[in-house]
Assembly symmetry: C2
Homo-oligomer: 422 residues x 2
């Protein structure tokens, strides 16, 4: 393959068929039966084109990055090299947690094109399931497994420092995607920006209050610096409920194009924060057949279980590998059970506070920043939507500013409940 | 230049002359007068060969890295690529602070060879001046200028995040040198290691106490993680008093082969910690002509002034560049003087505590680890030396464990004085 940057061409349904026919790995995945392929473009994200390719003897998904933000257009350029980092992260996280990451069949760097497993029906985007009020009894177990394995095994609790710095250097190349996060999560929501939007005029005062909340802005600066400086583990980088596909018994994490070595709490917080957003949106989806009371309790249980199971799984992996090649805590130094327990308690407490901070920041930006969530957007009654959003915003501000006072996730749940039913 | 790894050959005085004659940049620096060159090998560090080359019309220093630790031998291999990172850091820090970094004339990557300014007499290594009891009235001013400029301008207070991550990635290549620091500063002193040594039997119990101090080891783990994970600024990485050459009116920082993007506090702490070691060694150098009382006061003043002037200089640079392209604190968000003051206070307080922690860790490793300092080693009376070392060790342990309680450097000075005159 004569890889060259200018070998890129954006595909459409027709040219995709020709591409598949010319690519042995894809032909094989489709069982060499290339007549009558059904191709459907389904990209509903903000950035890329996504095609489902179904043939009589196999199926796959093709994802192609284009050199700008799809939902905005060529006026917001964005490197298509993000597909390279997405493919790296899919492969790395997939090898660590194959049950919850779709298999990659093929990657074409010049074309910024990834072919991967088609997540067949009834897989749907988790966010849509949450809006529909569907319970996923294994979600907490699956996500805590994914988070614990991907974060532990790419951290210095498992890595030697040489391999760690080597991997960190590679993912520094994804700086443009990191920069997008920095802008839309940590900057724009706290200043006047042309990209910000909110339910107006209902939330006008709330948005202004965010911009004038000095304590909040000092805390956000600390989180932003941690995001920019701290290479703790290979994180997904965009782990909201739109990056997870689910059925009742399957959980698959997709779209890690924002992956880089960053703070673990950013992934954990993204997932928990988006569950909290889903919780606060439920009142807007209640109707006379279903007041969502039971479902809200399920979401809260899922938040609680996700953290608690993550904590358990992560510490278990740590214990299993305490005498391994991870260089953060050498067993010759941290050589007593009592000391190991102290060290783990400190590490997990700090991680908990990081996760709460990042999760809250991700909530705030979904209410006052450029990219909103369907959980709220699909509430057509603006007054009702604004009420849900305001409660979520108040909750996020409290969690972000007070995060160091929380010792357990159940204390966080209590705050959510208080703000939900004042 | 056909750069190839195997183009390396270790030079000696004779082959160095041939190398100089074949290298136009060096010929020019010597004024094209290559007859009667005086060449002297003066490497007294642990790692490299250093030659002073003096001719009738010019002079220079040649530093060549060899692929192992010089003071230990081929049994401890160490990449000679360290010379590449040293040359990068000399050029970057030199452009930011030309008054205190020697000029680089020539770099040859395959040969791991740097040619740079010869720091002519009466320049001596600062550590030797401190042992001799010489006051340097401009030292605090010069070092605070060097620290403020090199750290500020390579941090996200000045860098945009894209350029920052690009630079971070490059210096990740210096991982082997970082790993050496991790081992000798953060690991070996806290475990049984064949490399550790100490004044024995005098300090046997003290060394054992370090290995059993759980609180100390938990704090050291936090510092080690910060060293491994946090890319805050381009730091020198080995800024002890043996990496500084001085006269009464000149201060030159040399030997940044450990340079990488790490926590700023590591550089500040290394310098302050080594001054504190110098302070505690003075009683061992006192004689009937000079009890060193006045000199000890000068060292304490220098510690105090270095931090206070650094604080002043760093904040001044920040104020001058608040509306620049640094992305940590956008002026559109941190848009009021009051808020800027709050943000700076928090940043500088955290940095102060980091510096105290790292400085204390650097003190401890010089007493119980592999590499000791001449300040103590040159005290021939072992009982006297052990007493000095024990006080320094106790001081370091206190500072490391209690660092977050200190608000000013004068409070640190008080602790040093208390431990010095119990």
């Amino acid at each position: 393959m004569a890889a060259a940057a200018d070998a890129f061409r954006a595909l459409d349904e027709a040219s995709l068929v020709e591409y598949i026919k010319a690519t042995p790995a894809l032909r094989a995945q489709l069982g060499e039966q290339l007549e009558g392929l059904a191709i459907k473009e389904v990209g509903d994200g903000n950035l890329n084109f996504v095609y489902i390719v179904a043939g009589p003897a196999g199926s796959l998904v093709i994802k192609q990055a284009i050199p700008y933000v799809r939902c905005i257009g060529t006026s917001w350029p964005l490197t298509k090299e993000r597909a390279y980092f997405e493919s790296l992260a899919l492969k790395e996280h997939g090898s660590l947690c194959p049950n919850h990451v779709p298999q990659v069949y093929h990657f074409d760097r010049p074309m910024s094109l990834i072919a991967m497993r088609y997540l067949e029906p009834p897989h749907i985007i988790l966010r849509k399931g949450l809006i529909a009020g569907i319970e996923y009894p294994l979600l907490a177990q699956h996500m805590s497994d994914y988070l614990a394995r991907t974060l532990f095994f790419t951290s210095l609790l498992y890595h030697a420092t040489l391999e760690h710095r080597h991997a960190v250097a590679e993912f520094c190349g994804n700086a443009e995607l990191c920069r997008l996060t920095e802008q839309v999560v940590f900057s724009d929501p706290y200043m006047v920006s042309q990209y910000n939007r909110w339910t107006s005029p209902h939330l006008d005062h709330d948005v202004e209050a965010v911009r004038h909340d000095d304590i909040l802005k000092i805390e956000v600066a600390e989180l932003k610096s941690m995001f920019c400086e701290r290479a703790q583990a290979l994180i997904h980088g965009d782990l909201h409920t739109g990056s997870v596909m689910v059925t009742i018994d399957s959980t698959q994490v997709i779209d890690p194009e924002f992956a880089f070595y960053g703070p673990m709490g950013f992934d954990i917080g993204a997932f928990l924060g988006n569950l909290i957003l889903a919780f606060f949106s439920q009142d807007g989806h209640a109707d006379k057949d279903n007041d969502r009371t039971v479902y809200k309790q399920w979401i809260l249980r899922t938040i609680e279980e996700t953290w608690n199971l993550f904590h358990h799984n992560f510490v278990s992996l740590w214990n299993e590998n305490f005498d391994g090649h991870g260089e953060a805590y050498l067993v010759d130094i941290y050589n007593k059970t009592e000391l190991q327990l102290l060290v783990q308690k400190k590490y997990m407490t700090d991680l908990f506070h990081d996760a709460l901070g990042f999760g809250a920041a991700k909530m705030i930006r979904r209410i006052v920043g450029v990219a909103h969530v369907e959980d709220f957007e699909s509430i057509s009654d603006e007054t009702k939507r604004a009420l849900c959003e305001r409660r979520a915003l108040d909750c996020a501000k409290t969690i972000l500013k007070e995060r160091r006072k929380f010792e357990t996730i159940s204390q966080v749940i209590s705050v959510i409940q208080e703000i939900s039913a004042p």
